[in-house]
């Protein structure tokens, strides 16, 4: 373990804001993309299903 304490870990030697700002934003971006992708998939599925039901036969 190279960190003395968790506190030191979060402070990152004074660079906490920048390091966590970077990693945090990356996390947000990735989580957001995953959410969007899944929503897109569900929406497509539902829309296609609806369209199939409404189709004039």
């Amino acid at each position: 373990m190279i960190w003395e304490s968790w506190d030191a870990f979060w402070k990152m030697g004074g660079y906490g804001l920048y390091v966590w700002g970077s990693f945090g934003m990356t996390l947000i971006c990735i989580a957001g993309e995953i959410w969007l992708v899944r929503r897109h998939r569900l929406q497509t599925w539902q829309r296609l299903k609806r369209m199939k039901e409404w189709e004039p036969k």
């Binding site: 373990m1 190279i2 960190w3 870990f9 990152m12 030697g13 004074g14 660079y15 920048y18 390091v19 700002g21 970077s22 990693f23 934003m25 990356t26 971006c29 990735i30 993309e33 995953i34 969007l36 992708v37 899944r38 897109h40 998939r41 569900l42 497509t44 599925w45 296609l48 299903k49 369209m51 199939k52």
Partner: protein, 244 residues
Amino acid sequence: MNLYYYASPSTFYPLAGKLIPLFSALAFILAVVGLYISFFVAPTDFQQGEGYRIIFIHVPAAWMSMFIYVVMAFWSAIGLAWNTRLSFIMARALAPTGAMFTFVALWTGAFWGKPMWGAWWVWDARLTSELILFFLYVGVMALQAAIDDPRRSDRAGALLNLVGVINVPIIYFSVKWWNTLHQGSSVSLTRAPSMAHIMLWAMLVMALAAWMYAIAVALVRARSLVLERERQTDWVRALLEGKP
């Protein structure tokens, strides 16, 4: 409509379905390992202190941003040459992920620059060309979004992609050269001196994780697109009976 035209999406769909969990798992494991190395194994940099740890996310993101653009252009070229629907779909599915990585590279770069250079942004060659790459991504996505007809939108996007990929190196070198010409810039990219092996490894692992992640996300997106495009076919109709 020949068989080959339709056959490939219908085989692709279930195959992608199987591959997605695999790539997601790989991405996750690699990310965990990579993060562990970056934060708990890699030592403090003697010049930049702990701030340098941003590199473990910044460099993989920057690599991916460029790599994905090239892959997109590759699929676009194939699509235009052989008129295969699946290639267009792949090109399209990659764009948002590429843009996301570009954004992350810019963001982390800025968050790195502030402590290192004292400015969020300087007009350095690399930064500038990354910004332009971001514009290129946004352009492709905006164009595709603006066109309703999928066929037209695929082709238009692919053409723009190709023009872009020819231009990217030109842009990169012109920007680089532009920057060295004016010696006014008081700061320059301070590279970490001979990076320790461990750092290199962490970066590689993280880059691999990003790569796996990109594949997984693009496949999910491609699957939705395939469903949408092939909705008239029997296999999609049969599929819709089941669960998502």
